[in-house]
Symmetry: C2
Subunit: 394 residues, 2 copies
């Protein structure tokens, strides 16, 4: 990951004393040139100050820098919270000598506590002075909360004999820490692309990646994904065929980050794909996939390596969309566990038991009602999840 | 509980060898006279054979007996499952010398396995021969799965100088074992009441009790609540004022059973009421209450006795109904933790911490948007929940 850079971008991450444990907690990503920008924000009705600020600033389609802290969500902090978010941007703008409206802000951590602005103000000059093209892994480290590893993904695409790069960082631990602002994701590209096309690509990419993972179904007050395009590669993404290539590379980056988030979810020991086929519509399939993926009963069975297909069919049955149990087939990888709603017996059970011992596997349901399909990534629900979340603030 | 009977009813419970551990697993409730009957069934799209059978039989509004087994849900068992459910009723009808259409059937246990009909058939004569007016606690024991205590509640009401009794049994362990058919509840009364009024009373009562509890949000393929009225008390429930008294006693029984289910939920150490006031409508309030009550993050915080109000507000924010964070107040019992979306500081935190050490407490939110309100009962989410559910079938 040492070479995970992106032409035209610099980044940094330092410890500013926001986290009590002395780890890195303040990061920055800067484009050397005015960049176009796209963003996707949490849909939670409770939104942290930086989310509210960025929603406004993103409208210009332009951005130069993102400054982000971990250890404090700056959420439920009232007017002071908004003033603090603006002040963070203002300090950064002053240090960089740019317009403060071109600086976005992100925070992650405990809800309901104010940012320690003295620490942040004191640390910002050092943060800016340590900016380097090799700094993206430092940024990835600075946004970690309960993540156990920093997450950086970089991919390159080729168009007209030239190459472009998309590099992203993300933090979780998946959806399992929504009150720690769960998911932040910052992506930089040296492709040259207009803001409206960038937004379209990001929305489509997120829908295929970060919106298809779940750890515990809670959503955060601070979630955001920001994509900046600086254009330094001189690869212009101007038509549909070039857009297709760009989208493909962007999807690869976002999907890899999404998988990394689930794998590093708190207490996670299993990465499980839930695949629904044969639903009446894609929407129905998605609803069943989400319901199955969120079932605590099923997730605890994953942890226990118990091929309890009854929990799968019972979860699907409460998804609120049409299904007929006596048509439904269930597979654990390639082992069929149920045919037309009836179990396939002891040999199948033994085969499925072997599948469940793997770190990654797939649960597939065929409803045989239509051609709708959907897939989501989920994980098991372990004793460590409870331990970590019970003891979180202490 | 030894006197928990109801005039005109007899019950029994024995071990028929359906459960591997040799505990009671076959029960029966019989009315000495033709009784009116009302029922509420699971809304899961996957429904066990006895649910499908009873839905038909209940239409007559008449019933003489309910036969129930634990240890096997008789769900996802195809045509054989329906034949087995019918056969259970037929054996009982023959033993009692009544019409088999007047016998209802219930099952609870693992999904996807067929009933051991030989065991059941062999045990039924003994079951019927042990019927006594004092047998209701035996029935309560025979329907237990992972419950740690049998649940029987009996209350009496007085009308026109005479008294009537309502006695109910239930099994859980709450919603946390939906694939074990979670919740069964059988209620007997010696009041004299028509089937349509009985159904109205049951639907209203369930809505205020068993539909207001949650342990893990999963719903079952086998849930049912059946209420039989034999009329032996000669207390006729014929007009609105008498209906009010009957409803009140019925509500008391159902609410007491509902609380008992949550308290005995797997791994449960805390019983928590979630009360939402000031929502735009009762429906909105209920949606927020349900979302908060199901939040794994919050439930693990309950287990950890952590007064993490940020998780409450974040859960409310994703309920999909209007709320404004900067109007929202949060209380832990009488300790205000947040005012207008901002935390009330260290003293409040200490007070709320003390509240959370109790076995039972109340979380109250005031949204200050309207007059809608709702209340649901939930519980904490403990390490034992994961352990029990991970190891369930092994």
């Amino acid at each position: 990951m040492k070479n995970a850079g992106c032409a035209g971008f610099e980044a940094a991450g330092i410890a500013a004393g926001i986290k009590k444990n002395g780890k890195k907690d303040l990061g920055i990503l800067v484009s050397g040139v005015p960049a176009t920008v796209a963003a996707v924000f949490t849909r939670n009705r409770v939104q942290a100050a930086p989310v509210l600020l960025d929603r406004e600033r993103i409208k210009s389609g332009r951005c130069r820098a993102i400054v982000v802290n971990s250890g404090c969500a700056n959420c439920c902090t009232g007017e002071q919270g908004m003033a603090d978010a603006k002040a963070m941007a203002e300090f950064v703008a002053a240090e960089l000598g740019i317009n403060e409206d071109l600086v976005l802000v992100a925070s992650t951590g405990v809800i309901g506590e104010s940012l320690p602005m003295e620490n942040i103000e004191a640390a910002l000059p050092e943060l800016v002075s340590t900016l380097t093209p090799q700094g993206i892994p430092e940024l990835a480290e600075a946004i970690m909360t309960t993540d156990t590893v920093p997450k950086v993904v970089s991919r390159s695409g080729h168009l007209g004999g030239k190459s472009f790069t998309i590099t992203g960082v993300a933090k979780g631990s998946g959806m399992i820490r929504p009150d720690m602002a769960t998911m932040l994701c910052f992506v930089a590209t040296d492709a040259d692309i207009a803001a409206n096309m960038l937004q379209r690509a990001l929305a489509a990419g997120v829908d295929r990646s970060l919106n298809r993972i779940t750890i515990d179904g809670d959503t955060s007050t601070n979630d955001m994904v920001i994509l900046m395009a600086g254009g330094m590669s001189s690869v212009k993404i101007g038509d549909d065929s070039r857009m297709e290539t760009f989208q493909q590379i962007l999807d690869e980056v976002l999907i890899a980050l999404a998988r990394a988030l689930v794998k590093d979810g708190e207490g996670v020991t299993k990465l499980v794909e839930i695949k629904i086929n044969g639903a009446a519509s894609d929407k129905d399939a998605r609803q069943i996939a989400d319901t199955v993926a969120h079932s605590n009963l099923l997730k605890t069975a994953f942890f226990g390596e118990d091929a309890n297909w009854g929990r799968i069919i019972a979860a699907a049955g409460r998804a609120g969309v049409p299904m007929e149990v006596d048509r439904t087939d269930i597979f654990f990888n390639d082992v069929q566990m149920a045919k037309n709603g009836i179990g396939c017996g002891k040999i199948a059970e033994a085969g499925a038991g072997a599948v469940m011992k793997k770190d990654e596997f797939c649960i597939e349901m065929d409803l045989k009602m239509g051609i709708g399909s959907a897939s989501v990534l989920t994980c098991d629900f372990s004793i460590d999840y409870v331990k970590i979340n019970a003891d979180y603030r202490s």
